[in-house]
Symmetry: C2
Subunit: 221 residues, 2 copies
DNA sequence: TTCCTATAAACTGTATACAATGTTATTTAT
DNA sequence: ATAAATAACATTGTATACAGTTTATAGGAA
């Protein structure tokens, strides 16, 4: 892997795993010394992350981890609800026991990470489950897009997630795998839609976040 | 508009309008002197274009306009077929006479550009028709993605298009507008799917392109 | 103290320099 | 004349320098 790519992955992971929380500043000097490259290389990576909406770059103010707006959060989940279920027919044409086993192992890892409170691992695996499925559809263009949306979803959970967002998930990913094994395309699609809807519902999206407090209403009783 | 953004748009337009055909090299210093900025600014733009698949950057070899592979072409069109029809219900909820007029004007411009052989304008307007529709759906995330796919489609037409690809289009965009005016959601979705399928069918995707010639078969008679 | 202003520090934006790599042209030998 | 080898050139990769802007700090007046 090229060096740029390595730095990109490191920073992206840190963001997705909430090590770098939304709003965290990303000064070029600090990063360049951390990775022992010049600012040139860091800027390249930051600009890429900005295009992919993981960081925001403000002119003369530098980069910070994106704090997704509520509409952004909503739109990302809506996009996934629109696309991911539709990938299931194509996906099923590549589905066999080997794949089934692979994904079941993934779910096992997922549960284990959750049980041992390895939050970072848990987040990564949850996202990975979804975008590896998308990948099986065979359409690289859509798969890459879904991959991005999955990572952005992790960022969204960091900002608006509740305890229920990651954990319970109205019955876990195993249910989907069962449906896929039985080639129940329609039911699998419905399940996927419900699943994503559930995640979206678990978010706290009622515009009562810090920067938008209505003091008038708050103190007038 | 920031200067970077300006340069980006200029180069992107040139690519989309086939002024810079697939495979065309994009040397940094030539561009930097054309836009009278340093190579730094150019590299930034080129890297963005590379992430968006409009150009390819090869290490130590620089950038050239992407020549989409057949699978890429196929996947981009498939992606559009999957998404664009689905946007129609949401789109219809924002549809009114003002919008109808706006899009009918656009189609008029489109026809006019085509009639007067303004190929560049014609290409831009065809793409714009689709991504402005996507925009009306209200989901910015999906709309930006569709916008990119529309521009990539222009590049694909440059590589694999036939005379039929741009022009005839199995009845033009007006038909869709009529369906939208009548709020016939389902029929509009079907139309959109057919429309994109037609474009895809008009491409020459039979792997008999230059780099893949079977000389054995060609000279053994 | 509190607020405003002035100064200093930190950081980013852009250009340029130099090294590394790739490409082309020229030479030399067969 | 052709092919390989070498040298000259062109182009990219990366680091660094300097200017411009923002942010933090310190000092002084109300």
């Amino acid at each position: 892997m090229s060096n740029d790519e390595h730095i990109y992955q490191q920073i992206l992971n840190a963001i997705v795993e909430h090590q770098l929380p939304p709003g965290a500043r990303l000064p070029e000097d600090r990063l360049s010394e951390a990775f022992s490259v010049s600012r040139t290389g860091i800027r390249k990576v930051l600009q890429r992350l900005a295009l992919e909406h993981f960081v925001i770059i403000e002119k003369n103010k530098g980069a910070h981890v994106n704090r997704p707006s509520e509409t952004e959060a909503s739109e990302v989940l809506d996009s996934r609800m629109l696309i991911e279920p539709q990938l299931i027919p194509a996906l099923l044409s590549h589905w066999d026991l080997t794949q089934s086993k692979r994904f079941r192992d993934m779910v096992l890892e997922e549960k284990q990470a959750e049980a041992t409170n390895q939050l970072a691992e848990s987040i990564q695996l949850t996202a990975r489950f979804h975008y590896e499925l998308a990948n099986l559809s065979g359409n690289q263009v859509l798969a890459r897009f879904i991959e991005q949306l999955c990572y952005r979803s992790s960022l969204i959970l960091a900002a608006y997630g509740t305890r229920g967002s990651v954990g319970c998930e109205c019955g876990d990913h195993t249910q989907l795998l069962d449906l896929l094994d039985e080639k129940k395309s329609d039911q699998a699609q419905v399940w996927m839609h419900h699943h994503l809807q559930h995640i979206k519902s678990s978010l706290i999206l009622d515009s009562t976040t810090d920067n938008n407090i209505d003091f008038q209403q708050l103190f007038t009783h």
